[in-house]
């Protein structure tokens, strides 16, 4: 940091324009200590903003566990074959084995004893309930019903710190991922839900995300010009708000929901307008390349990078990423000597025997490596107080299905047709990266033996990020998950 730059830093509340203006105003600093007036420990003690970031990376179709789950537990656990490629990060994540998301099951007993039997559709329920832990209403019509997802619960509170971008909802593939056994496609296509009926729109373009995070501020704009611009933009927003009011009286009950959604969006634009100053200094560097100028693997890296940037610059605290859609073809991977050309979902039931096991394992191995890549990226970013971004994040990686037709036994047990439901919503494959600012002790394999609910883990994550009074979530979350700290 130059002396000049240091002098200009007067308080935590720096003018965002000064730094978000692009190359002309570049301050080649990843982070300014000014952003952290006191040490993290001091702030946590004072129950101030812990500045912990939350990420969820979702993989569909479950994972084969034989080569993923370590055979022993605790801090000195032996790396499993699939974890070996990310062994360098072992101190920075936990393997959590045995968690469940029972509302995702075909048959489910509500806490009050009511039994619901919705039959097939495990893939819709895998994706749809992964972050909501709710019971999906089984419909292929438009009367959909899920629950709010944990990332949005967190975002709704943490937007206090990051008002312009409360959360990032990302995916490498846009659009619909298809229906499943009587479930509308919308369930299998979204993990983040703003409400029971409205999923969050997915963003797939790293460049568009970057621009939304950092663009739109003119460093050359004078105070008078800014005042005028804000006044004009406010007049547009006022005018359309009046239009909503006029419409309301003319429309029915169902329509009000749509107008409310729209109005919420307009309010968010107002927040952007009001907070176009007051953001901390951070140089995001060059924008990601244009869409279509990179391959899938680079796309994944770019998504990780925008998450890292958003966190580094404290533009948002919450992100979700659907790493791939269920029906994708991983033809850049090889198994048994040839490229994998079948769709992931089709192979995930392992009906092709050993061939499918090899291919799914290759996919799962690649997925775990991506988790490692994200961790390394966050670990490589210092926060200015000696900690790293990863220290102050919780990165949950995994899926909502056990994933294979066997219950963890030997390969000979892979007989899906005779072993009951192929995909179970218990014993989920979950890795948890980061320390959450000290809330989590990492480097361990923790075995949960009572089907502890995923929802409890989500409560722990949210509490670490500052939602300390969150004591329940969805159908099954009744408190923080034990054995994390």
């Amino acid at each position: 940091m130059t002396k000049k730059a240091r002098r200009s830093v007067r308080s935590f509340r720096l003018k965002r324009r000064a730094l978000l203006g692009g190359a002309g105003a570049t301050l080649a600093l990843p982070f300014l200590e000014a952003m952290l007036p006191r040490t993290r420990r001091e702030r946590v003690k004072a129950q101030e903003d812990p500045r912990v970031r939350l990420v969820w990376v979702y993989v569909p179709n479950g994972m084969i566990r034989t080569k993923l789950t370590p055979t022993d537990t605790g801090a000195g656990y032996t790396l499993s074959p699939m974890l070996e490629p990310i062994g360098d990060m072992r101190d920075h994540f936990n393997v959590l084995t045995g968690l469940s998301n029972k509302p995702g099951g075909g048959r489910y007993t509500y806490p009050d004893g009511t039994v619901s039997n919705d039959g097939p559709g495990d893939h819709a329920r895998d994706t749809g309930t992964f972050l909501t832990c709710a019971r999906l209403k089984k419909t292929d019509g438009s009367d959909i019903r899920n629950g709010i997802s944990i990332d949005q619960v967190a975002a709704n509170r943490l937007r206090e710190y990051t008002p312009t971008v409360p959360s990032l909802v990302l995916a490498t593939r846009s659009g619909s991922y298809g229906g499943d056994s009587g479930y509308a496609p919308i369930y299998k296509s979204n993990i983040s839900w703003a409400s029971e009926t409205t999923p969050m729109d997915k963003e797939t373009s790293p460049r568009a995300v970057f621009e939304r995070l950092f663009a739109g501020f003119d460093p050359g704009e004078s105070a008078a010009e800014r005042e005028r611009r804000q006044r004009l933009e406010q007049s547009v927003l006022d005018s359309v708000t009046d239009d909503v009011s006029s419409l309301r009286g003319r429309l029915g009950r169902q329509d009000q929901v749509k107008l409310d959604e729209y109005l919420e969006g307009i309010r968010q634009l107002e927040v952007r307008l009001e907070t176009s100053e007051g953001m901390p200094i951070c140089d995001p560097g060059a924008a990601p390349p244009e869409d279509g100028s990179y391959d899938f693997l680079e796309h994944v890296d770019l998504m990780f990078e925008v998450i890292r940037l958003a966190f580094q610059c404290d533009r948002t605290r919450v992100a979700t990423l659907i790493l791939e859609k269920p029906g994708s073809v991983y033809d850049f991977l090889r198994a048994g000597g040839s490229p994998i050309r079948e769709a992931h979902h089709r192979m995930s039931h392992l009906e092709g025997g050993t061939n499918d096991v090899q291919r799914i394992e290759a996919i799962n191995r690649w997925q775990v490596e991506q988790f490692g890549n994200l961790l390394r990226r966050l670990q490589g970013t210092e926060e200015g107080d000696g900690s790293t971004l990863l220290d102050n994040s919780l990165v949950m990686f995994g899926g909502g299905l056990d994933g294979t037709g066997h219950s963890g036994g030997a390969m000979g047990d892979l007989t899906p047709r005779t072993s009951g439901p192929v995909h179970r919503h218990t014993n989920l494959p979950i890795l948890l990266g980061g320390r959450g600012g000290g809330a989590v002790r990492s480097g361990r394999h923790v075995l949960y033996e009572r089907d502890e609910p995923l929802a409890d883990l989500y409560i722990s994550m949210a509490q670490a990020a500052g939602l300390t009074d969150l004591s329940s979530f969805a159908l099954e979350g009744t408190g923080p998950l034990h054995s994390l700290g």
């Binding site: 075909g106 048959r107 509500y110 619901s116 039959g119 097939p120 209403k137 292929d140 438009s142 009367d143 959909i144 019903r145 846009s174 619909s176 229906g179 056994s181 009587g182 496609p185 919308i186 296509s189 703003a194 729109d201 997915k202 568009a208 939304r212 006044r231 004009l232 007049s235 547009v236 005018s239 359309v240 239009d243 909503v244 006029s246 419409l247 003319r250 429309l251 029915g252 009950r253 169902q254 329509d255 749509k258 959604e261 919420e264 969006g265 307009i266 968010q268 073809v329 033809d331 050309r341 079948e342 769709a343 009906e351 092709g352 025997g353 899906p416 047709r417 009951g420 439901p421 192929v422």
Partner: protein, 577 residues
């Protein structure tokens, strides 16, 4: 009551002459969606013969409809001359219904991200609009040229802003603006032009009107009881159903004069609209989505097994089906032509793929066929490819496609504990590789699976002469193809041509097209009562020769399309319990 699906209703209204599905339903139990009769005391249930006599054919109410991405892009093209498809480039992707449509009013949610994108698009569109040729002439013709000079506020500016709000508003909001709405626009324009050139104010006005819910949503007043839609509401329903875009000047003129409320004038407009190039959007948004051709870009035929499959072939396949459907509509051909045609559209590339001689060049053109190997949707590369796996065909997927997309009778869910079908297994005991047919026959030996697979599989086997990218073949993995199929009622068929004839004779095919069409045209899920509406539409279309064109016309001429009621699905938050 609202939970009853149209499927239930239609099934029982249909003539049960061809019992394709009896075995499937019988094996699995009650058809999906049948409510407990105890729910509804007294009166016939949907499906009872006299049901339609007892229901009040309430047209229903459609939730306020957000423009989807396609509609947005088409609308700004026609409103502003903007052809860069900003929504396609930047907006979140719209949710699909199970049928594949993206115009279901309830599913068209409005997230905060989308509103951000609308704002950015409105800003960019307004910025470009003032510079574009024709904009001034079209919307500012009445203004004193002096208002565009200088930066002084003047009464002439206010007059011009007022005229602009009315002219531009009528197109952008697809209806006349109220005085209060005009005043709001004028205020924005005047503020934006303060100490600036007038253009700056107009730009701000355009921006606010494009961000307005009156532009982004199509709203119909929700009154007491059932009412006729007004001319402007009908104009929008017509234009968005048939063109996926805003009404043009002729429709707006007729809307203003009341012409769209007269049946003859309405028929004339429908005819005109079907001849217009904008009608291509109907083929894209209705037919291509219904027939899953829109999923062709997502198909991944294996590069080694199907090395000849490339973008040119994929494009030709897509064009073939779209041109084919358009031809059936334009030439007023019977609906059943879709499955039993003796012609298609080919270029040299696709003809070579099909093994048809004598077609040269890239241009797609009408080609007469002998009707043996090719003819009808089921023999088109697009359909055959999207119903295949990457490395091989799937008789099951093809069977499901026929049941779901062409007969509107999707098979019930597989029984619990079975997620998918093992098509590439070896014999459990001998370890020998089984042919696809053998493998499926083994699967069907399981009585739990047999009920439906006895229906699905033989349909798909009828198409086994077409490989996973729709090329003709006589053998599969060295074994001769067996395209013999048998239906549960004992009738047998050999190959796609005979299967096409069976479908053409099945009244459920016609009903199914009618059902999909009504769903698309209304932009909402059908309710049980709609079965009676559909009955009427099908009857009238039949009297006019049973053509696809007649079916489309009768759909948009029906009361359900021209009136609006109040019935909406009830809020039942406890339902999922």
């Amino acid at each position: 009551m609202q939970e009853l699906t149209i499927r239930t209703c239609l099934r029982s209204l249909a003539v049960p002459a061809l019992a394709l599905l009896v075995a499937c339903e019988g094996a699995i139990g009650e058809p999906v969606g049948v409510g407990d009769p105890g729910d509804r005391p007294g009166g016939p249930l949907p499906g009872d013969p006299d049901y339609c006599d007892t229901v009040d054919a309430e047209p229903g109410y459609v939730t306020v409809r957000r423009l989807n991405r396609v509609e947005y892009d088409n609308t700004v093209r026609d409103l502003l001359g903007e052809t860069s498809r900003p929504a396609h480039a930047d907006f979140p992707v719209d949710a699909e219904t199970a049928e594949g449509f993206i115009n279901d009013a309830d599913l068209l949610t409005v997230g905060t991200l989308a509103v951000e994108k609308y704002e950015a698009a409105a800003r960019a569109l307004a910025d470009a609009a003032l510079e574009r040729d024709g904009f001034r002439e079209r919307f500012l013709g009445a203004c004193d040229p002096a208002v565009f000079e200088g930066t002084e506020h003047s009464g002439a500016r206010v007059d011009c802003a007022r005229a602009f709000a009315r002219e531009f508003g009528l197109r952008a909001w697809r209806r006349p603006l109220s005085n209060g709405e005009v005043d709001r626009v004028v205020d924005v324009v005047v503020l934006g032009a303060q100490d600036r050139r007038f253009d700056a104010g107009l730009e701000l006005g355009v921006r606010s009107m494009l961000l307005s819910p009156n532009f982004l949503f199509r709203a119909e007043d929700h009154g007491e009881g059932v009412r006729d839609l007004d001319g402007f509401e009908i104009a929008s329903r017509l234009s968005y159903s048939l063109w996926a875009t805003m009404p043009d000047e002729e429709l707006l003129d007729l809307a203003a004069s009341g012409g769209l409320n007269e049946e003859d004038a309405l028929r004339g407009q429908i005819d005109r609209m079907m001849e217009d190039p904008r009608f291509d959007a109907f083929v894209d948004e209705f037919a291509a989505r219904w027939l899953k051709v829109s999923k062709l870009p997502e198909a991944h035929p294996d590069e080694e097994a199907f090395a000849s499959f490339d973008e040119a072939l994929r494009q030709a396949m897509e064009d073939e089906t779209k041109l084919f459907v358009r031809h059936v509509i334009e030439n007023d051909l019977p609906l059943t032509t879709l499955v039993d045609a003796d012609f298609t559209f080919l270029n040299e590339r696709l003809a070579a793929h099909y093994g048809v001689d004598g077609v040269e060049g890239e241009e797609m053109r009408l080609v007469r066929l002998d009707g043996l190997r090719r003819g009808g949707l089921l023999t088109q590369g697009s359909v055959l490819t999207v119903t295949s796996h990457a490395t091989r065909t799937s008789p099951v997927l093809r069977g499901v496609y026929i049941l779901d997309r062409l007969l509107c009778a999707p098979p019930p869910d597989p029984p619990a504990d079975v997620d998918s079908l093992g098509e590439d297994a070896t014999d459990d005991e001998t370890g020998e590789t089984l042919t696809l047919r053998e493998r499926l026959e083994q699967h069907r030996a399981d009585p739990e699976c047999a009920g439906c697979h006895d229906v699905m599989d033989p349909l798909g086997f009828g198409l086994e002469n077409y490989d996973a990218v729709g090329a003709w073949r006589e053998t599969d993995e060295g074994e001769p193809i067996d395209s013999y199929g048998e239906l549960p009622d004992g009738r047998s068929f050999e190959g796609a041509a005979e299967l096409g004839l069976i479908l053409a004779e099945d009244p459920r095919f016609t009903e199914c097209v009618g059902e999909k069409l009504l769903t698309y045209s209304l932009g909402r899920a059908l309710r049980a009562e709609d079965a009676c509406t559909l009955d009427g539409i099908l009857e009238r279309a039949e009297l006019r020769g049973g053509t696809l064109r007649a079916l489309i016309e009768e759909t948009v001429l029906d009361d359900v399309f021209r009136r609006v009621g109040t019935t909406q699905p009830e809020e039942t938050p406890e339902e999922s319990r």
